[in-house]
Symmetry: C2
Subunit: 357 residues, 2 copies
């Protein structure tokens, strides 16, 4: 079968032929429909993140997938089910066992899991993949085409769940929200906040000139585009308003700290972007003081579990079709896979199509 | 009646005679038993924090009080009730009204409240005080003597409540906890964590040589004393273990950031210390990355409300008498009030006694 892999020489994504996988007990065989590409894939390609599967000279790429069950193999699934796979799997040493057993692999410490398409396990960019049935989440027909957005949406589902939990000990009202980052994840999360959570006043930060398709999406959602070149994050409360929630999706390390300044009293910053080490000066006294005196919180989260996939599916089902069409700027047949890894000003999110429903 | 006040010339605490207050409708008259002294009182004395009541040349000090109702004045209280007063009160402009109405004055933004003995309203260091009955929390007889510890304990009650809430979206287990600061609040919180929350392995950070009464309290509680001069906070996970919870009570700004490094995966830092502005260099990239990839959280909290006072009373009631005796190193009659504001190596917490039960 066709697969898109990265070799250990890191010479970019390559098309190769691999044997069709056989499902083991408890696993189903899935025919891949589409696989999305995100920033993590680029980090893996650049060698900045990830790990090859032990004893393999290549890694099958891709962790945002949707497919159709073609062999339920005695599991609770049914042939024809459209499913999205979660990403984390146990390591052979079983060190993260307790987290997997209680369905919270997303909370497992680094080193106790593999991540398909990222760390130590093949991903989903192939005509077929197998997966334990418990890691496959049913996707309703309406979302089948865009089912590869369930994984990124689940990242935000979890981040928002943890952020809201941190504000659950008192009467908190989420009226204003700021998304830092106008990439696919930022725009999708902005859509979730506006259309599903029902945030009244939403803002999205970017650094693009008009006309720009991401700014169009922000405004079509009724949100306000904030240009970080003219309004740096710490100035947002003065220029716009202080924010009950800030969702940080850029991974720009300074934003993690500036988030505190952008928050309203009792606000929470949800951090999902992953920066690299970088030393810089902060007014740590003022930041620490503000966290305390204004009852603010910063909550970091990574990955997501089956419950977040299920939540994401419900949330995505509340979003309008135009938003999916606007965010997914290119769906590329596998013959043309290289195009999916090129970006220009008009690119927001691309996916590779392996087959159709 | 006798009162201990600070004048606008900031020449230290002074004894003066004031008229006995008359309770308004909804208020009770309370005969003061004891009033504790903490770091905030010193900040007020030094002019670093606080505000004089409008139109007054002095501020009655003290915000950690316990007293006996001597005139219930038609409220739901009964003469003879031992009570501890909460600290925040509405400003005349009513800007924080909604927070007071729902019993969450502790979440009100700065500028929308007064704080008795601190910001814009007289405190409790007087033979009598009045207070709205709804801001007086009944204290059981066993705790009457140490009822002035209810207010500081309520600060930790709230901080822990918010910290635990932030970990409520998943299966979190609190096995290891580190308290930064071996002052009265740090030791009281250590006692709460060990004796009431039931944390298995507790640690307390200080910078004192043995023999030292605070180290004795730490060890009597079965906790481990960590000397920050030999083991800086970021080295604690290697030297001891990573912490599920870090409670930051020093207000040393670097600790707010080092807290993240001391945490175990999925851990939470509860910040209650209040630093001043101070710029310094941090590896902001590594910190931000660690928050995200290890699902960590930082939660700042300030003040407390009636529900936290009630929780604190239950929590304190689970603590052994020796702990109160060890933490409260001096109870000074009002004639001798100046002694309560002096500190040496053996001082942990002092209180002024205005009358006895």
């Amino acid at each position: 079968m066709d697969a898109i892999v990265l070799h250990r020489d890191h010479d970019g994504p390559r098309r190769t032929t691999l044997p069709r996988p056989e499902p083991s007990t408890g696993e189903a065989l899935v025919r891949t429909l589409r696989v999305g590409i995100d920033g993590t894939d680029y980090e893996v390609l650049n060698g900045g993140h990830g790990e090859f599967p032990e004893g393999q000279d290549h890694l099958v790429l891709g962790h945002e997938a949707v497919g159709v069950v073609v062999d339920a193999n005695g599991t609770e699934l049914t042939e024809g089910d459209v499913v999205a796979p979660t990403v984390r799997r146990p390591t052979p040493d079983g060190s993260g066992r307790e987290y997997f057993e209680r369905g919270e692999a997303d909370m497992a410490p680094a080193g106790t899991y593999h991540e398909r398409g990222i760390v130590g396990a093949d991903g989903f960019m192939a005509e077929f993949f197998t997966s334990p049935a418990r890691d496959l989440v049913r996707v309703p027909d309406r979302l089948a085409e865009y089912g590869f957005l369930v994984e990124p949406a689940s990242i935000s589902e979890k981040a928002l769940e943890h952020a809201f939990a941190s504000r659950s000990a008192f009467d908190w009202s989420l009226d204003s929200a700021l998304v830092l980052g106008n990439g696919a994840l930022g725009l999708l999360t902005l859509g979730m906040l506006v259309e599903s959570v029902g945030v009244e006043r939403a803002y999205c930060l970017g650094r693009r000139d008009r006309p720009d398709p991401t700014i169009d999406v922000v405004e079509e959602l009724g949100a306000t585009y904030v240009d970080s070149r003219t309004t740096p994050v710490p100035q947002i409360p003065r220029r716009y308003e202080p924010m009950d929630l800030v969702y940080e999706a850029t991974g720009y390390a300074r934003h993690g700290f500036e988030t505190v300044e952008a928050l309203a009293p009792s606000g929470v910053g949800a951090l999902v972007g992953v920066p690299s080490p970088w030393e810089f000066e902060v007014d740590g006294g003022a930041l620490h003081r503000d966290l305390v005196l204004s009852n603010k919180a910063l909550v970091g989260t990574v990955n997501s579990n089956v419950s977040h996939f299920q939540g994401a599916i419900e949330t995505l089902d509340a979003l309008p079709d135009w938003l999916f069409d606007a965010i997914v700027t290119d769906v590329v047949p596998v013959d043309d896979f290289e195009r999916a890894f090129t970006e220009d000003e008009s690119t927001i999110k691309t996916a590779i199509e392996f087959s159709d429903t």
